[in-house]
């Protein structure tokens, strides 16, 4: 049992080379971009509520669209952080 664990650790240490780290960088970038889920939900929620509001009050359309654009861009920020982390991992 313990022998197997030691064998696994030594095998990991021998295989831990430049290619391994380069590959893991791309895996990390892929995981970082998963933050896109959050803005997707947030922006969809904001857009849905805006559509509801316009349906209820069509005369306030201009103000509602302005507010929706601003809040949608606010919700986008967390996704952009994930993107920046991914870019830093790949190019940095």
């Amino acid at each position: 049992m313990l022998h197997n664990v030691f064998a696994a650790i030594t095998r990991f240490a021998t295989e831990y080379n430049q290619f391994f780290t380069d590959g893991l960088k791309y895996v990390g970038a892929g995981i970082a971009v998963l933050t896109g889920i959050g803005p997707g939900i947030g922006q969809g929620f904001a857009a849905g509520k805006a559509a509801e509001a316009i349906g209820r009050q069509p005369e306030a359309q201009g103000k509602i669209i302005t507010t929706t654009l601003v809040t949608a861009a606010l919700a986008e920020t967390t996704g952009l952080y994930g993107l920046l982390v991914a870019l830093l991992l790949i190019f940095g």
């Binding site: 601003v70 986008e76 952009l80 870019l87």
Partner: protein, 223 residues
């Protein structure tokens, strides 16, 4: 083009300078023509465009600022909007988007930050500002002071990073698509790429930066 302060002149800085010079010339010409215009004349051509633009901007920021504040902060906000509208769509002319350099995006947010602090000092007073750090209930101050301090510095950081992130994402995605395609397919793909990433996102980000500056500065001036 060799004036090195620190390091070489980046592509984005060159396109930013192009935008600034272009806007400077256009605005000086418009200013001279506005000066010659009589109150009874109707504006035409370039003047009409500028009059309509400034009226639209004024209608947007009027509900947030009252009286003297409009005169103090209106010119800065209009200038930021005008610069960002041209800077974010400049890649249609073959230049790189200025805001895809983190430094230039940070410059915009740092200017807004300076205006925020100026608004605090001029219209709110340092005493009231320091009292705001404590929060509504004074004995909660050990928790509220760190939160408020983080809030102070997160505003310019997020505003700059939002602008930078949007612009660099457009640049990266269009570069990746162009790298894959040959030039015939690239022309057809470029139509959609530039419409979405330069015109649509660029104008929306310019408007969002402007709107957030308006909201933040008007919140900073309130007592």
């Amino acid at each position: 083009m060799n004036f090195e302060l620190t390091g070489p002149l980046s592509d984005q800085l060159v396109s930013s300078l192009v935008v600034i010079v272009f806007l400077g010339i256009v605005i000086i010409i418009t200013g001279i023509r506005v000066g010659k215009l009589k109150p009874t004349d109707t504006p035409k051509g370039l003047l009409l465009v500028f009059v309509l633009f400034f009226e639209a901007v004024l209608n947007l920021i009027k509900p947030h600022f009252s009286g003297k504040k409009l005169k103090v902060f209106g010119p800065y906000l209009t200038a930021v909007l005008l610069y960002l509208v041209f800077a974010n769509t400049v890649s249609l002319f073959g230049l790189k988007t200025p805001a895809s350099n983190a430094g230039i995006a940070a410059c915009c947010s740092i200017m807004t930050y300076i205006m925020l602090r100026f608004a605090n000092i001029r219209f709110k007073g340092i005493k009231q500002k320091l009292r705001d750090f404590l929060g509504r209930i004074w004995y909660m101050f050990p928790i509220m002071i760190p939160i408020n301090l983080i809030g102070e510095f997160s505003t310019p950081l997020t505003m700059g990073l939002r602008l930078f992130g949007n612009m660099i994402s457009g640049l990266v995605i269009s570069t990746m698509v162009y790298a894959v395609l040959n030039w015939v397919a690239g022309i057809f793909a470029g139509v959609f790429l530039h419409v979405v990433f330069d015109i649509f996102f660029g104008l929306i980000q310019a408007f969002v930066f402007f709107m957030l500056s308006v909201v933040n500065i008007s919140m900073a001036t309130e007592k």
